[in-house]
């Protein structure tokens, strides 16, 4: 199995998976979602994760996002073994280092765009004034200046996803995990979203791991990992669009 990422000089192994296995259920009914994954993602990388449904990519993303823990093997985030952490400690890891973008946006209904963006800062106990100014900056960075008071139902899908990206980016996370971020969008909106992600990756050096099944979206990433039946089937470098 290929464990080498794009090991550039000065790059820092941010994420390491060593023989990660995930089994759901026990005995006869046991379902092996992951069968020994070895993976390394360095700081500043933009990685696309592909594979058919049931291939283990979602399980892998859940583990990467510290939402789940491996059954066997080790997942090291900045050298910390996440599998040994409690639920609360993993929540704190997410709070301080990770950003999430979901396929279905997952914005809070009947809550203004700005308040949605402020949400992760509330959990970081950032005072209201600073929170507001940072959320406004993030809204501007995703090109939604002037839409702050709109609620999700008043925004288009592309705009909603941009609010979600602003929400993920407002904390300046080390890693942005995006699960099918363009899954619900047409090609024009998809391109806008991908351009946005690429900019964050290149300008701010934020590491992005993105699940997609669209090859045209995957090419925005510099590296593509393909899952099949719970193992990494192939890895390839691409030039990256941008």
């Amino acid at each position: 199995m290929n464990t080498t990422g794009s090991k550039g000089i000065g790059k820092h192994p941010l994420i390491e998976m060593l023989g990660v296995t995930k089994v759901y259920g026990t005995g006869q009914a046991a379902m092996h979602a992951l069968r020994g994954i070895n993976l390394r993602i360095d700081q500043g990388e933009f990685v696309a994760v592909m594979g058919p449904s049931g291939s283990g990519k979602s399980t892998c993303m859940n583990i990467l996002g510290c939402l789940d823990t491996p059954t066997a093997g080790a997942y090291l985030f900045e050298g910390i073994s996440v599998g040994k952490l409690s639920r609360g400690q993993r929540a704190l890891l997410r709070r301080h280092y990770l950003g999430f973008v979901f396929q279905g946006y997952n914005l809070l209904n009947r809550t203004s765009a700005l308040e949605n963006v402020e949400l992760p800062l509330i959990y970081r106990a950032i005072p209201a004034g600073r929170r507001r100014s940072r959320a406004l900056e993030a809204m501007e960075a995703v090109g939604l200046k002037g839409w702050e008071t709109h609620t999700p139902s008043e925004l288009s899908g592309g705009q909603q996803q941009r609010v979600a990206i602003a929400r993920a980016m407002v904390t300046a996370p080390m890693v942005l995990l995006a699960d099918e971020p363009t899954g619900n969008l047409d090609s024009v909106r998809s391109k806008e979203i991908m351009d946005l992600l690429t900019t964050f990756n290149q300008k701010q050096g934020i590491t992005i791991v993105m699940v997609t099944h669209d090859p045209e979206i995957a090419v925005y990433a510099k590296r593509t990992i393909r899952f099949l039946d719970g193992v990494i089937d192939s890895e390839e470098q691409n030039g990256g669009v941008g």
Binding site: N62, G65, L67, D68, R87, G88, A91, L92, R94, R95, H96, L98, G99, F100, F102, G104, N106, L108, N109, R110, T111, L119, P120, I122, Y123, R124, A125, R167, A168
Partner: protein, 403 residues
């Protein structure tokens, strides 16, 4: 952070005003019921107290038999008093303003075609003095009438109304047990007492007349004594007890076969009764608070299910279990506190209306208002905890997948 959570809860409640108000309706009704009951109860107590104060707190009553607290009442085997006893009290005890020996019978009073069943009280002019009665018209008994046991009477205003209607009764005769009594006076109405009895429903005749012509004995069933202003009723009470023990030859160490009650004691007995009643009604009302709490729990559980994805999102972006728990708990508490607040307003309003209707004073009890509010908030904590824990324990992966 807590303030943020409160704001968040307020926003959540505002999002669904209709449902939120229906949710807290149980609490509103519960709190309103408690406040109404307790306020009206307090008003009734205040009324009783003031009525008794009107009667005169310097009033003492001596009755034969021991006062038993609880079932059984007064023991009736003890010897009755005699007129001598009342005279002895008037003569030998200092600080006494007036003494009235009293005996009474239930009789039919007849005038023309009208008849009315009433209490016939035999006493002296002292009775009018100790019980604060004022003559509306006519006169008191004369010394001669009292001494000779003449058949004259003074009517309470109820008896006058029932027998005479608009007619002037002075100078006419009323028949009591086939004896004609000349009406010499009519009393001013005192109205209903707070214990629900009609104070004006009686006929006053000389004590001696009652003893000789009606009862056929020389018993006095009770003696009223009013103390002079500025004299301690306790002191007078002790003196009377000593005197009566002496007169009734009760040896040392034996219990009294009579009792002296002052009105303050009566006040405390009566307010005690209303307090028990108030507590009972309050307890019934508290049950509806519990029911209201269950309503809140129900809606919070629904809310947790509806907002599963939101909870998942919050957990994913770094909310701790504690944060989610607090969010839902605070929401439940804010809801129930709102219910408490509205319930207090509603309760005070209906208590004010009820007080007017029942003609009792409106007595604001700040204590019960505070307790009702705290209790409703506590209902939020107790019944909000379970749904909040459900929310906090959600698996973020499952929650995010929830449709």
């Amino acid at each position: 952070m807590l303030w943020e959570t409160v704001l968040l809860a307020l926003r959540e409640i505002r999002r669904n005003v209709m449902r939120s108000s229906l949710t807290v309706l149980g609490i509103v009704i519960g709190v309103a019921a408690v406040i109404t009951m307790v306020t009206l109860g307090g008003g009734a107590t205040a009324q009783v107290t003031s009525d008794i104060a009107k009667m005169g707190t310097n009033l003492l009553q001596v009755r034969p038999g021991q006062l038993h607290r609880g079932p059984g009442g007064t023991r009736s085997t003890a010897n009755m008093f005699k007129v001598d006893d009342a005279e002895a009290i008037a003569r030998e005890i200092s600080g006494v303003a007036a003494v009235a020996p009293v005996a009474s019978e239930m009789l039919q009073a007849i005038y023309g075609n009208a008849n009315w069943s009433t209490t016939v009280t035999g006493s002296t002019n002292g009775f009018l003095q100790v019980r604060n009665w004022t003559l509306d018209s006519g006169r008191q008994f004369s010394e001669g009438e009292l001494r000779a046991g003449k058949t004259v009477c003074i009517l309470g205003s109820t008896v006058r109304k029932e027998l005479f209607g608009a007619q002037d009764p002075l100078g006419t005769t009323v028949r009591l047990r086939n004896i004609s009594f000349k009406v010499i006076g009519v009393l001013i109405s005192k109205g209903q007492s707070s214990f629900g009895t009609d104070q004006d429903d009686f006929v006053l005749i000389p004590l001696r007349t009652l003893q000789r012509r009606i009862a056929g004995n020389i018993d006095v069933s009770r003696i009223y004594i009013s103390a002079q202003d500025g004299i301690s009723t306790n002191k007078v009470q002790e003196d009377i007890e000593r005197l009566m023990r002496e007169r009734r030859r009760i040896s040392l160490g034996k219990d009294d076969d009579f009792h002296v009650r002052d009105m303050e004691e009566l006040v405390s007995t009566l307010t005690g009764t209303t307090r028990v009643l108030t507590a009972l009604l309050g307890a019934v009302a508290a049950v509806s608070l519990i029911v209201g709490g269950i309503g809140i729990m129900n809606i919070m559980l629904v809310s947790v299910t509806e907002r599963t994805r939101e909870i998942g999102t919050r957990l994913a972006i770094g909310a701790l279990e504690r944060d989610v728990l607090m969010q839902f708990l605070v929401e439940a508490v804010v809801l129930s506190s709102f219910g408490g607040l509205f319930g207090i307003l509603l309760g005070l309003a209906s208590a004010a209306a009820g007080a007017r209707f029942l003609a009792v004073p409106f007595v604001l009890n700040i204590g019960i208002v505070v307790i009702a509010f705290l209790f409703s908030a506590a209902v939020g904590v107790v019944f909000g905890y379970f749904p909040a824990r459900q929310a906090a324990r959600l698996d973020p992966i499952e929650a995010l997948r929830h449709e």
